[in-house]
């Protein structure tokens, strides 16, 4: 029987089988941020184990609350910063150089096809867009990852989602993943890896693939995976050009991590993209999804464009196209948070930031901020936010607040209308 992507990656990284069905894998990357890492660091120090397995494989960033908003977040930043210096972790991104972890680490070329990646952050599944096995873990797994460079996983089962046809104009990766989560439900992929396959995925840019894989966790998935292809190689080329004689050679090497034709899947789902339309969430679970048509007219107080889901350059470009020459509705406020300094710079160069500002948006520095209600746009009780983020849980963006998840195009159109509505690019 053939193998799935995850099975191939497990086979190439397995260092132990402590019990039937459990594999301990060696790790290529351990990513760290200032919310979940400091407690791991403090625990290692208190155990007399203040070591790191390999400082070149550990990458760290301050992103969740940046710059620090109070003494406690300042202490978290300080703990991470001093630890990175102490252990000569060169790839540490402090205030000014920092961005949202799942945007900045791919941008730096740290993730490659076939890699194993963990981070103390559930949206680590984003990095599967590069054909890697990337999983969110808790602080204890992170701690062992930092110390020993290993992590234990149950043998992965895989769901393959074959996305056929092509996406209608004005429908985006965010609409696709929300629609898929609606069908899978919030635990339909628990303990499973999701392979995204088919012509729609092949046609997607890396930014879109990251949006797709980012929300695999919202269906309970361990990791979302896209197959490495020339799009992957082109994205990575500046970082890998010394490793390979040509792009074709790189692609051939990465093809070792494509699934076998006779790979065994727990489930194969065929999805037709042709009939899709833009969607948004209602309620408090990411699988509560309706078409924007059905949601049209829902009043909102705030619009938020950003996060590890939709704060990349492509997202900002699409939103800016909707906003160009327009003003946000007087009854709403709107916030855009470019996910990394590079995205911010490019958006400035392309005139995108000017479009947002002219429309009346507040432009923030890169940070996770309002997505999880920690800073930069927390909702008051009873307020509603149209958001390009990933979770609409009760209280997520502030106690008593409501979040509707949607694409950047829909969020921008909603900012202009002051209520949920479709973008002009969708003519369905």
């Amino acid at each position: 029987m053939g193998k799935t992507v995850a099975q191939k990656i497990f086979d190439s990284h397995r260092v132990d089988v402590p019990a039937e069905g459990v594999s301990v894998l060696s790790l290529d990357r351990v990513f760290c941020h200032e919310i979940t890492t400091p407690i791991a660091i403090n625990d290692l120090v208190s155990r007399g184990l203040d070591r790191v397995f390999d400082p070149t494989k550990i990458k760290a960033v301050i992103d969740h609350v940046s710059p620090a908003k109070d003494s406690k977040t300042a202490e978290q930043g300080k703990t991470l910063r001093e630890w990175a210096r102490r252990h000569e972790i060169k790839d540490f991104f402090d205030i000014g150089a920092n961005g949202v972890c799942h945007a900045i680490f791919p941008e730096k070329g740290y993730v490659r096809p076939g890699y194993t990646v963990i981070m103390g952050d559930s949206h680590t599944c984003t990095h599967g867009a590069f054909g890697a096995f990337a999983a969110g873990v808790g602080t204890t797994d992170l701690e062992v990852g930092i110390l020993k460079g290993v992590c234990a996983f149950r043998e992965p089962k895989t769901i393959k989602i074959q996305v056929n046809g092509s996406m209608p104009e004005g429908v985006y990766a965010k609409d696709l993943i929300l629609t898929l989560i609606r069908d899978l439900t919030v635990n339909g992929a628990t303990d499973h890896v999701i392979e995204f396959a088919g012509p729609v995925i092949s046609a997607m840019k890396m930014d879109e693939r990251m949006t797709l894989c980012n929300m695999a966790i919202e269906a309970g998935g361990t990791c979302g995976i896209c197959y490495p292809d020339m799009t992957t190689v082109e994205y990575l080329w500046p970082f890998i050009k010394d490793e390979f004689a040509s792009k074709e050679a790189a692609l051939e090497a990465y093809s070792a991590f494509l699934p076998d034709e006779d790979a065994e899947y727990a489930r194969v789902i065929e999805f037709d993209a042709n009939t899709m339309e833009p969607v948004a969430t209602f309620g408090n679970k990411p699988d509560q999804v309706k078409t924007v048509r059905e949601m049209t007219g829902t009043p909102v107080n705030q619009i938020y464009i950003g996060s590890c889901t939709n704060g990349r350059l492509e997202d900002l470009r699409i939103a800016a196209k909707v906003l160009e020459g327009k003003k946000i509705h007087p009854n709403v406020r709107a916030i855009v948070s470019p996910a990394t300094p590079l995205i911010y710079r490019e958006a400035l160069k392309e005139g995108i930031i000017a479009i947002f500002m002219d429309a009346g948006f507040c432009v923030t520095n890169p940070t996770c901020g309002a997505c999880l209600g920690m800073s930069n746009g927390v909702l008051a009780s009873g307020e509603v936010c149209a958001s390009t983020t990933n979770r609409n849980f009760n209280g997520r963006m502030g106690k008593g607040g409501t979040v509707h998840l949607m694409s950047p195009a829909t969020a921008a159109a909603t900012a202009i209308a002051g209520e949920i509505c479709n973008s002009p690019f969708f003519r369905g």
Binding site: V15, D16, P18, A19, E20, G21, V22, V24, I35, T36, P38, I39, N42, D43, R47, L49, H64, V65, D70, K72, T73, E75, Q76, T79, G120, D121, S122, T124, G136, V137, G138, T139, T140, D141, E143, V144, L147, K148, V150, A152, V186, N187, T190, D191, G220, T222, N284, K285, L372, G373, M374, R391, F393, N394, G395, R396, K399
Partner: protein, 174 residues
């Protein structure tokens, strides 16, 4: 090894997420003890009052997909530091489940019909769960009625429970 027996907190809902168990605004705490007062603070469950209902409980019995959402280990910690070391549910989100065992706590799945029966027989009144890890049974009693429910735990998960968590185990072995 931790204590896995005591009074039951029944949470009659599926998909309870980690933001409900411990809201993100408390993730700035760097001491686990500081989380204690905020356990299940944002849980949406009619009639549930975290200030009243958490104290004195040792076991949670709930429905499907407990602990979904964020990877924050603060969710198991806030339970652990409120002396709740065992959650029994139909199933769990992967990261939450692993985090529980990594802390030497237990997240045990029972069949949906068994969970249904536990709710219908025992919820709504005071009930105790007595856990026998050797025999792998939960004995649930409300004083009038007593029922024994077998469970199974994976060999690796049991190792972690006995070792008191993953750090101690991994440090010795790898």
């Amino acid at each position: 090894m931790k204590n896995f027996s005591g009074k039951i907190l029944f949470l009659d809902r599926s998909d309870i997420n980690t933001d409900e168990i411990i809201p993100a605004k408390y993730l700035t705490e760097s001491q686990k003890e500081a989380l204690i007062p905020y356990c299940l603070e944002d849980l949406v469950l009619p009639g549930f009052d975290p200030k009243r209902d958490v104290a004195g409980k040792a076991v949670i019995v709930t429905r499907r997909n407990f602990g979904c959402g964020s990877s924050r280990e603060h969710a198991p910690w806030v339970l652990e530091y409120n002396n709740i070391n065992l959650v029994i549910a139909v199933n769990f989100a992967r990261i939450f489940r692993q985090n529980m065992f990594n802390c030497g706590c237990m997240a045990i799945s029972l069949a949906e019909e068994v969970i249904d029966e536990i709710f219908s027989v025992f919820a709504g009144a005071e009930a105790d769960c007595s856990t026998d890890l050797e025999k792998q049974t939960f004995t649930i009693s409300n004083g009038k009625e007593t029922k024994v429910y077998p469970f199974s735990i994976g060999a690796f998960d049991l190792e972690l429970v006995k070792a008191g968590g993953w750090v101690g185990y991994a440090d010795k072995k790898y």
